[in-house]
Symmetry: C2
Subunit: 326 residues, 2 copies
DNA sequence: GTGAAAGCGCTAACAT
DNA sequence: ATGTTAGCGCTTTCAC
C-alpha cells in the first residue's frame, strides 16, 4: 500500500505538503503541487479514508437506509434507480456509501458516518432520532413526520395530485376513490390531502380507501368490493403503480371496461405503468434527481457543518395515458 | 466520543484488556470481561472501525456492486430483496456495506474493503480483475466468466431449465423458443445450454432468440414477429419474468390464447409473475438465501484469509402456474 | 511557501 | 491473566 510518506519521498517534499495538495487546505506552489500529483499518480497513491477519518474525526461515508418492509420500494423498480443514482452521485463527490441495517443497534457508531440519507422514513423510523441525537446530519427523501427536524428532498406530490383530480374532472369522472395504504410516509399524507382538496375544488366526491398491504393482490380484492357496491366509484387513483395493475385486474374480472367505465391512475411511472393494458396514466418522479440532490446536500453540510437545514422540492409530472382517457 | 481508554479507566483495567474483550483474540477472566462490558455499556462505547482498520490493516467493510445498466436487476423486484438480505445478513455478522460506483476508478482504495460482492457480473466487469489484482477477496453472485477465478454463490439454473423443458414436453408443447438477451451473465449461459439440452432430450425443436434489450416492450415486439411466422413457436420461455409479461401481451394482441395455443414461462417468481393473466409459470430463486450465503463466505474469508475459494450452488424451484398448464 | 512532530483510537508484539 | 508501548496513515498546530 502506498502511503503519503512514499509520495513525499518520491516528490522530495514533506508529508505536510502532500497532505495539503490532496486536501486543498492551504496554498501550495503550483510547481510543487504538480510534482506531488505526478508522484502520487506514479505510485498509485490514494489517501486512506480510515486514517483520514481518525485524524480529522470526520467521515466521508454516508449511511443509507430504506424501510424495505414498510414502503412501496420493495416492489418497485423505482428503488433500483434511486440506488443507482446514489452510487453515481456519491462517487462523483468522493463520498462512499454504507447500507444501514434495517433496525437500529444502540451501539451503532454514528461517528463513522459523515451524514445519512433515509429514504421515505415513517414516523416509527428509529434511525432519525438516533442519528440526530448524535449530531449526525440527516437528509431524508420525503419528509420525516416523526417530530425531528431534518433536511429533506421531496417531490411535489401534492401539486401533481391536484393535476390528477383536474384531469379526472375534465374526463368527466365524478366519483373517484384514492387507494392508499396506512404507512405514514409524507408522500401518502401529501397525496391524500391534495386528493381531498382537488376533489372539493372540482366538486367531485372524494373517498379515501386503505388496502391492508401494498400488494397488487390487496388492491385487486379491495377494488372488487368497491366495484360491487350499489354506487361504485368511476375512477381509482393509486398510491403506487402496481396497485393500479391490481385495480385494472379487478375491473377486467368484473367485466368493467377501463377507461370508459372506470378510470385508473397510478404513481411512479415505473416500467409497470407502461405494461398495464390499457396503458397507465401515472405521476412521474425522477429517482436520479432525488439521489443527486440528496448527495448535494450531504456534501454541502460536510463542507460547511454549521449551515442550516435545507429543503428541496422537485416537480412531479402527470403522464396521461389510456387508462384515464375516455 | 467514548474511546477504549475511557472504558479502561471506568473498568479499572488496561486498554489491552478492553481491546481483547471486544476482539476475543485472547482469553480474559470472566469477571474482568463482565466489568469491561458493563463499563462499555454504561459509557455507550463501540470500537471505532476506522481506528481498528488503521491498526490492523484489515477492514470489515464489504464492497457491493450491481451492474444496473446491464442486468435484469433494474427492472426486477428481486433486486430489492437481495439488497435487503445483504443489509440484514451483514449487520448480523458485524460487517458494513459500501456501494461501489458503477465504473472502476483506478485510484479506488481496494484496501478499504475486507471483501467485495459482485452481483451478476458480466465478463466486461472491470471490478473483478481490479480487485483480484489488489488481493481483495471477491464473491460473485452468479459466476464471473471473465477469466478470473472467484468464489461464488449461484442458483441451479441449469437444472431448473431442464425441469422446464420436461414440463413443456409433458404439456404437449413441441416448438418452444427461449427468449434471452445478449448480456453475458453466467445465468443466461446456463439456461441457454440447459434449454438446448433439455429440448434435445425431449425431442423438442429448440430455438434461441435474443431481444435487443431487457424491456417488456422488446419481448413483446420480438414475440409478435415470432408468432406471425409460418410455423410459430407454441411456447416461449423467458430469461426474466417481465419479458414473459411482454410475451403474454403480444399473444393477447394477436388473439392467441395462453396457455392453449402458447405456453409462457418466466424466471424469478417476482411479484410480476403473480400479476400476469394467466398467472405465470416461473422458476423461483431465493434472493435472501443468496445474500446470506455470500456474506457467510466473506465472513469466512475474513476470519481465515488463506482459505481457498468456495462455490455454493443453491436450488431453484419450478413453480407451475396457469400460463403453461394446458 | 514549506516542515517537524504530536496525536487521532486502536491493535499486537513483548513484557510481567 | 493482564499491562506497556510502538505505530498504523493521516491532519494540523506551531515553527521557520
Amino acid at each position: 500500500m502506498t502511503t503519503i510518506k512514499d509520495v513525499a519521498n518520491e516528490a522530495g517534499v514533506s508529508v505536510t505538503t502532500v497532505s495539503h495538495v490532496f486536501s486543498g487546505k492551504r496554498k501550495v506552489a503550483k510547481r510543487t503541487a504538480e510534482n506531488v500529483l505526478a508522484a502520487a499518480a506514479k505510485l498509485g497513491y490514494a489517501p486512506d479514508a480510515a486514517a483520514r477519518k481518525l485524524a480529522t474525526g470526520r467521515s466521508t461515508t454516508v449511511g443509507l437506509h430504506f424501510e424495505l418492509g414498510e414502503s412501496a420500494l420493495l416492489l418497485n423498480p423505482f428503488f433500483a434507480q434511486l440506488l443507482m443514482g446514489f452510487a453515481a452521485a456519491s462517487a462523483e463527490r468522493g463520498f462512499t456509501f454504507t447500507l444501514l441495517p434495517p433496525e437500529v443497534t444502540n451501539s451503532y457508531p454514528a461517528g463513522s458516518m459523515g451524514g445519512a440519507i433515509m429514504v421515505d422514513p415513517t414516523p416509527g423510523n428509529e434511525w432519525v432520532p438516533f442519528l440526530a441525537r448524535q449530531n449526525c446530519r440527516v437528509v431524508t427523501i420525503g419528509r420525516y413526520l416523526g417530530g425531528v427536524e431534518t433536511s429533506w428532498v421531496d417531490n411535489n406530490h401534492g401539486e401533481a395530485m391536484l393535476e390528477v383530480t383536474k384531469h379526472l374532472a375534465e374526463q368527466g369522472y365524478s366519483r373517484p376513490v384514492l387507494l392508499s395504504v396506512r404507512h405514514r410516509m409524507s408522500y401518502l399524507a401529501d397525496i391524500e390531502a391534495a386528493f381531498q382538496q382537488g376533489c372539493l375544488a372540482k366538486r367531485l366526491t372524494a373517498e379515501l380507501v386503505y388496502t391492508t398491504d401494498l400488494s397488487d393482490r390487496s388492491a385487486r380484492l379491495t377494488t372488487r368490493n368497491l366495484l360491487q357496491r350499489p354506487s361504485p366509484p368511476d375512477a381509482v387513483v393509486c398510491a403506487i403503480d402496481h396497485m393500479a395493475l391490481g385495480v385494472a385486474h379487478a375491473a377486467e374480472e368484473l367485466g368493467i371496461t377501463v377507461p370508459t367505465e372506470l378510470g385508473v391512475v397510478g404513481a411512479g411511472d415505473t416500467v409497470l405503468s407502461r405494461h398495464a393494458s390499457p396503458k397507465l396514466t401515472t405521476v412521474r418522479v425522477d429517482p436520479q434527481a432525488l439521489a443527486r440532490e440528496a448527495i448535494r446536500l450531504i456534501s454541502d453540510f460536510w463542507h460547511n457543518p454549521t449551515s442550516p437545514d435545507q429543503h428541496i422540492r422537485l416537480p412531479s409530472e402527470l403522464i396521461i395515458r389510456a387508462s384515464s382517457s375516455r
